[in-house]
């Protein structure tokens, strides 16, 4: 047996395994090296300088970007290193807005904790930077640059893991900042509100827009009937905020806490997940039979829906029309299936408690107002609920176990596992396999789908059909999957998409996990919950059968389509009918013409073409026959100038080509 390679950390020999850097080796030696910018899933950034260690013969080196080598002698705790860590924290704190008691991250802030841990007693530097404006434009995420320590974790999460790129670094030196593109705000940019940035943010610079005050106000309003619904992923993560191990199922305490805070009815979103499983399963079977709009792509994740609308409008037809489960439940509660006799729908306030930040934006979509105001009034994140429980002074761990209200409180395991990436696929597989074979099967036959990978391909046999299913979580993985599909390298029949890596259990509204392998632990919690439940298949849920019988008729019925389904629209930024910069209104216009005035087209001569056309029309006295619009970038910069004349799109256009085409079309 070959001798293991070793290095010395603070006089202790430590074996070198497959760690990719010194920092991981040092952590293995049970030394919690401080760092802000190192995350094992992301590229090495090396900017916070807190993990500097002394290597004999090499001086101070950042542990995160140094390769472990045999024989290195490392010190992690010297006078110089300690002085440096304190100084770095002092520098960060000097311009940090230190309103810790009122900060959303107060008590849970890594900057606060590290400053405390490193014994920073005084900040000897003065505040130099000016206060910056807080960006509260997004309905879901608030960005407070005054709290930002510029570790770049959010930027790399958004770019590397999610592939969204809604935020990046801007400016330099003392003006260095994290910002959306072109000086826009979060609402105008590419952000899909997955909230993964807020999960990695060590301070309170990025956080979910709070709804706590609105919810308290509703609870304290005697005229309102306040209904809560809890997402599956909340029950296995909330406990972490009350010192329970990750993955601990705390459903009973949560229901109890909600009742004691004054919620009138407490429902389970997993019930709606069961309902969605059936609606989605039926939709899938129908498309399979007709052979159209395949692959069917799940639509329960609002961040994914926004992403698809912005980037993949060509796949919007493939999206399932099912609403996300909490919207199904909200619509049911507000339309006729009122919780109790005598409660008027207009007095009902539905509060969804979700692991998700994107749902805060989703509730504002006009499609989700079917009867009385919004189908779901407020979305609380898991963290938001935790804060409310703490504010109410409830001793969470001592609370008894309460159960949900009926009828929307009875669930099967299929509904619960929706919180995991792959859970929807498994639930739907359990449903459609029995539906097609008309035979009962064991619920766990599809558990081989569970391997935790963010991109999975699964082959199943359904009757005579051999089907390709795919599961993708993390928008970066989704992009890869779609790229593969577009290149024709893969064909799928069913795709489950969750914007957050690992699914809702790792949603942007969850507590930032402190334990190792947090995703696996939470995921196991949900699968355990499935095991513990009596029923595991959505079609066996008796309350759902009853709901169809009494109210919804059958999956996909007219009423089901109204309350349980939705539609999408393309939000691709660049379209020929959008982004008009200027319009010359002309009532008798026979012909419409758009010229791209993006930077690239402009330098390639768009301006000249524009004035040439105007002059030509003027000379021919036909100015009123043509309506000329100038537009923003069509994103065809390499082939500009781009002009649309009527329905004809001309690339690399010249004045001559444009005039010829105008002449032809005006004839």
């Amino acid at each position: 047996m070959s001798k293991r390679k070793m290095l010395m950390v603070d006089h202790i020999p430590v074996p070198i395994g497959d760690e990719r850097n010194l920092l991981e080796v040092i952590r293995k030696a049970n030394i919690e090296l401080p760092t802000f910018c190192y995350h094992s899933e992301m590229s090495i950034y090396g900017a916070c300088r807190l993990c500097l260690v002394e290597i004999e013969g090499r001086g101070l080196q950042p542990a995160c970007s140094t390769l472990p080598e045999e024989g290195l002698v490392i010190s992690t705790n010297t006078q110089q290193i300690r002085a440096m860590r304190r100084m770095i924290l002092e520098l960060m704190l000097a311009n940090h807005q230190g309103d810790c008691p009122t900060c959303v991250k107060g008590g849970d802030c890594q900057l606060q904790q590290l400053a405390h841990r490193m014994g920073v007693a005084k900040i000897r530097f003065s505040r130099v930077k000016e206060r910056l404006r807080i960006d509260a434009s997004s309905p879901a995420i608030i960005h407070d640059p005054n709290k930002c320590i510029l570790c770049g974790d959010c930027v790399r999460t958004c770019n590397e893991i999610q592939g969204v790129g809604a935020i990046d670094f801007a400016y330099s030196g003392s003006e260095f900042a994290v910002a959306p593109c072109f000086g826009k705000n979060m609402a105008q940019g590419e952000c899909v509100a997955c909230g993964q940035c807020s999960l990695v943010c060590p301070t309170g610079a990025l956080y979910a827009r709070p709804s706590i005050n609105e919810v308290w106000a509703a609870l304290h309003d005697p005229a309102k009937t306040v209904v809560a619904q809890i997402d599956p992923a909340v029950r296995i993560a909330l406990g972490e905020d009350f010192n329970l191990a990750a993955g601990t199922i705390a459903t009973g305490q949560i229901v109890s806490a909600l009742r004691r805070m004054g919620f009138d009815f407490v429902y389970d979103t997993a019930f709606a997940a069961d309902l969605m499983t059936i609606e989605l399963g039926e939709e899938f079977l129908e498309r399979l039979e007709k052979g159209e709009r395949l692959p069917i792509i799940t639509s329960c994740c609002p961040a994914w829906v926004t992403f698809a609308e912005q980037h993949y409008p060509e796949y919007l037809d493939n999206l399932s029309t099912c609403r996300s489960p909490h919207q199904m439940l909200g619509a049911l509660v507000k339309n006729k299936v009122t919780p109790a006799k005598g409660v008027k729908p207009e007095d009902i306030v539905v509060v969804s408690i979700m692991p998700c930040i994107a749902k805060k934006g989703e509730v504002l979509r006009p499609e989700f107002s079917t009867g009385y105001g919004r189908d779901v009034d407020y979305v609380l994140t898991t963290l938001g609920l935790s804060l409310m429980i703490k504010e109410a002074g409830l001793n969470f761990n001592q609370l008894g176990q309460d159960s949900f209200d009926m009828p929307f409180g009875f669930i099967t395991g299929a509904g619960v596992i929706h919180g995991n990436s792959g859970g929807v696929t498994e639930a739907v597989a359990r449903y459609v396999s029995e539906k097609v074979s008309e035979k009962r099967s064991d619920y766990y036959v599809y558990s081989n789908m569970r391997n935790g990978a963010e991109l999975r391909e699964i082959k199943v046999t359904l009757g005579k059909n051999k089907l390709n299913l795919a599961v993708a979580s993390g928008l970066g993985s989704v992009k890869k999957l779609i790229k593969k599909m577009k290149k024709g390298q893969a064909h799928y029949d069913f795709i489950e998409v969750k914007a957050c890596p690992g699914g809702c259990i790792n949603g942007g509204g969850q507590p930032p996990g402190k334990e190792k392998n947090i995703k696996a632990k939470r995921s196991a919690g949900l699968y355990d919950n499935d095991k513990m439940l009596q029923l595991h298949k959505s079609r066996e849920n008796p309350y759902i059968a009853d709901l169809y019988e009494r109210f919804l008729e059958k999956p996909g019925s007219q009423i089901a389509r109204k309350l349980l389904h939705t539609h999408y629209q393309s939000k691709k930024r660049v379209y020929f009918d959008m982004n008009n910069l200027a319009r010359q209104e002309s009532k008798q216009a026979k012909l419409e013409l758009s010229i791209c005035f993006g930077t690239s087209c402009l330098v390639k001569g768009a301006q000249g073409i524009y004035s040439g056309i105007n002059q030509y029309l003027n000379e021919n006295k036909s100015l009123d026959k043509v309506q000329i619009n100038t537009t923003f970038c069509y994103e065809k910069c390499s082939r500009g100038p781009v002009i649309r004349i009527g329905e004809e799109v001309i690339e690399a256009c010249t004045l001559e080509i444009a005039l010829e085409e105008i002449g032809r079309q005006l004839k």
């Binding site: 090396g46 101070l60 950042p62 100084m87 960060m92 003065s126 130099v128 670094f169 003392s174 260095f176």
Partner: protein, 574 residues
Amino acid sequence: MNQVSIEDRKNTYEKNSKKIIKRVIICAGTGCVANGALGVYKEFLKEIKKSGQQVVVSLEAEAEGYLVSQSGCQRFCQKGPLVTIFPERIVYCLVKNEDVAEIVEKSLVSNDVVNRLLYKKPGYGTACRTIDDIPFYNRQYRLLLEQCGYIDPEDINEYIACGGYEAAQKACTKLTDLEICRLIQDSGLRGRGGAGFPTGEKWNIARIQFAGRKYIICNGDEGDPGAFIDRSIMEGNPHSVIEGMIIAAKAVGADYGIIYVRKVYSLAVKRTRKAVLDAAEAGILGKNIFGSNINFTIIVVEGAGAFVCGEETALIATIEGKRGMPQPKPPFPVQEGLFGKPTVINNAETLSFIPVIFKIGAEAFRNIGTVSSSGTISFGLTGHVANTGLIEVPFGTTLRHIVNEIAGGVVADDGTVCGINFKAVQIGGPSGGCLTQEHLDLPIDYDSLKEVGAMVGSGGLVVLNKSTCMVEIAQFFMRFARKESCGKCVVCREGTIQMLALLTDIVEGRANLKTLDLLEELANIVQVGSLCGLGKTAPNPVLSTLRYFRDEYIEHVVNKRCPAGKCAALQIGA
């Protein structure tokens, strides 16, 4: 392809130049162009014709008459536009359009000089007739810049006629990659970009990397205020850079090169572009160079002008289309550089030394300079001295030689030369340090400067007289560092902000002795803790002034007095 060999080009050029009577070289470096050199050039063409003589502007064909050409920087920028007449080697300073007719009449048609346009030694008033009489020139050692102020940078044939591309031809056809690396290692050449890493060693590391593609990058993003060596070389002798790159390419096995030039160096951009095109047309770049199996293509990339983009990893990031921010090293660019491939980055000055080493031999090169730093080094000489411009001296030269002999002595604020007025030398640009009287006899090289807290850096050399406030100098350079910090790492970004704030407190009278301790502690931490070279060297002006001019700082904070009388807030009655 029908290529003319470099021997043929050389012969043709020599044949064509035989009937040239005299040659007028107008400096067309940026400084002289700004002072009207291009007008002077046109005036010469006009006036020579007017006097009934033949003007020759190109040696493409055999011609008889006076050759009028432009050159790169002739280095005595303070006295520009400069005009040199060959073969007499007469130098005319501050030439204006209206002077041209007289020069043509006296120096070309007859063999006289225009006395009033000659350089006069300050103090003495003696006129210096030829270039060899001027102390600014004759006290220098011209190795690298020899051709720079002479040849026409836009004429590849002239470069070839002066022995250009012979080294590249030899490298491509006669030497192995290992031999080239050994040669450069033996010469002791160290990178002139600032850090002074041995060039041959860098090449050798790149040479042994296994990769399908390797890159050579010429770093011409010189961003230090007061440094203009790389610019002058790219403007004045761009082919020498290309030749150095070809040799590097052969040595490491690269087939693709990039010259990265700061966009605002418009003349350098224009001339390197032309040089690359001309070399490609001559078959010196492209496929099977000199009939060997070496393929090498060069493109010119313009840098947007951020100081940090002179840092190699940041520079690479911008070529890749990313934000110009440094990356942690390792991996070093020679291991994983541009697009993840092994990449050699040398600055323009280093690369143009390569053909020189081939020409004079490694040993001769090593014999110039000191043991640890061989060859010559160029400085951009500015500040309170009589002569300013671009200078070249062997390593080991003392500051006293530079200040008193080449620069012609320290001047007071009113411009009079006065030896006792010397206070300090700020060397190495914003990342360098300040040296004092006691360092005047220190032989300058990479290591001696580092030891005293300064650095060769990018070769800025500012001489300061007694009326300079050293705290203000530190503040000036810190303002630059704060602005140019990319912002990525905390220590550099926040450290430069706070160092500037503390320095401002000192010059504005809000500081005490504790401020000095805090400033020093912070400066030391920024020096060891920063991610890249910019941050690591940003505190140098502070640390070196604290080290050598601490009394001045103490005077500021204790007695609230500025010894130089410069800090407005500390003046009596303020």
